[in-house]
């Protein structure tokens, strides 16, 4: 197809990915890479490079709104991010050791897990009443604004477990070119028991940093194509800013359902292609 059509198509896909990413705490990269690879037949390394750019964009774009509103917990974010960064380093060194179709297969399985996790998040869980000792020592507890007025304080649990989950998320982030927002949200939502909006906002904040760790390496290897990233970046930026503004108005149950279904379909595609070795170089 011609560049113009390709560009426009990519832009639209990125826009939608940006909105979904902003609303669920995922970077949108997890949806973007499979679509680029399976629908647009883009080489997986290019797709991963583009998706890393998308993640950095979404992270920065959404954080503008979330920081302003006060949902992001910077201390928790930073603490968890150290785990993710160390993981990302290990993941980056694994990239060249694994064949593309293995990476594709792993990706598919991660997608399935993400779909399950996205669906599993429940907003009606009882808020935690006690914080983990580490959380108190590091002053990780916080408050977030309620829709109408006032602030709601929250507790933070299972700090070490969350860190380990983040470490694994970091490895996957580097290996697959995603922000691994799903795992990060898991760490915050299920392990630490943070409120949905706080987990989403904090996850969105840190995934850009994790992506930045891998981007340097990808850039040096020529995996970041300017033309691809151009349409992806602009689409994701507009999408994620739109999404961030919508967070308090959208019925997140429906959103999560749609997102999970999309991810499951993509996962099946990726695993299928990985098994057949269609993407082997």
């Amino acid at each position: 197809m011609t560049l113009l059509i390709f560009f426009s198509l990519l832009f639209c896909i990125s826009y939608i990915a940006g909105i979904l990413g902003a609303l669920t705490g995922l970077g949108g990269g997890i949806v973007l890479t499979p679509i680029l690879v399976t629908l647009l037949h883009i080489d997986i390394y290019y797709a991963m490079g583009a998706s890393l750019i998308a993640v950095m964009t979404a992270s920065s774009g959404t954080s503008i709104a979330y920081l302003n509103k006060g949902y992001t917990n910077l201390r928790i974010g930073l603490f968890l991010e150290t785990g993710a960064v160390i993981g990302a380093l290990i993941g980056a060194s694994l990239i060249t050791m694994l064949k593309p179709n293995i990476i594709t297969g792993i990706f598919g399985m991660v997608l399935l897990v993400s779909a399950y996790l996205t669906w599993y998040r429940r907003e009606d869980q009882e808020p935690a009443t006690l914080s983990h000792p580490w959380a108190i020592a590091m002053q990780l507890e916080g408050k977030y604004p309620l829709p109408i007025s006032g602030m709601q304080s929250y507790k933070v649990q299972k700090v070490p477990l969350a860190w380990v989950i983040m470490f694994i998320a970091g490895i996957l982030s580097s290996l697959l070119g995603i922000g691994s927002g799903a795992l990060k949200v898991l760490a915050m939502d299920q392990a630490m028991r943070l409120p949905y909006k706080v987990a989403t906002a904090t996850s969105n904040f840190i995934i850009g940093i994790t992506a930045a760790v891998s981007v340097g390496i990808y850039f040096a290897r020529g995996y970041i194509d300017p033309v691809l990233t151009c349409s992806v970046m602009s689409g994701v930026l507009l999408g994620s800013v739109t999404g961030a503004k919508m967070l308090h108005r959208i019925d997140t149950q429906i959103l999560r359902l749609i997102f999970s279904i999309v991810i499951i379909l993509l996962a099946i595609q990726m695993i299928y292609q990985g098994l057949l070795g269609k993407l082997s170089m």
Partner: protein
């Protein structure tokens, strides 16, 4: 702290966006009827990836270099926000978090130079 970082992100993203879109539109206007092939990595892509090449190319108004400059700005925003956090945590005397910020900063700045 959060409001300062938010402002930084806003300005930085604006600059990055303008650069990338300008470069992109310029490129599109010249190449819109090219056929695309992204099925394999192009070998010459690796030649475009040093910072000096990007800067000199952007000054020469090459669309590709302008886009790449935008990407570089995007990358630097991430670094700047970590520096900001280190600064604010130092002012708050939270040495642990200042240290974490600096650690992450160190990793991000040095990894492109590690030979993996």
């Amino acid at each position: 702290m959060r409001l300062v970082i938010s402002r930084l992100l806003f300005i930085g993203m604006l600059i990055s966006f303008i650069l990338i879109v300008t470069g992109g539109l310029l490129y599109l206007s010249q190449h819109s009827n090219d056929l695309v092939d992204y099925q394999h990595v192009h070998k010459q892509a690796i030649l475009l990836s040093s910072l000096t090449t990007v800067l000199s190319g952007a000054i020469a108004l090459s669309p590709i270099s302008i886009i790449q400059l935008g990407l570089v700005v995007l990358f630097f925003i991430q670094i700047l926000r970590i520096i900001l956090m280190a600064w604010f945590f130092a002012k708050e005397k939270s040495l642990l978090f200042c240290g974490m910020s600096l650690f992450i900063l160190f990793i991000i700045l040095t990894t492109p130079f590690w030979h993996v």
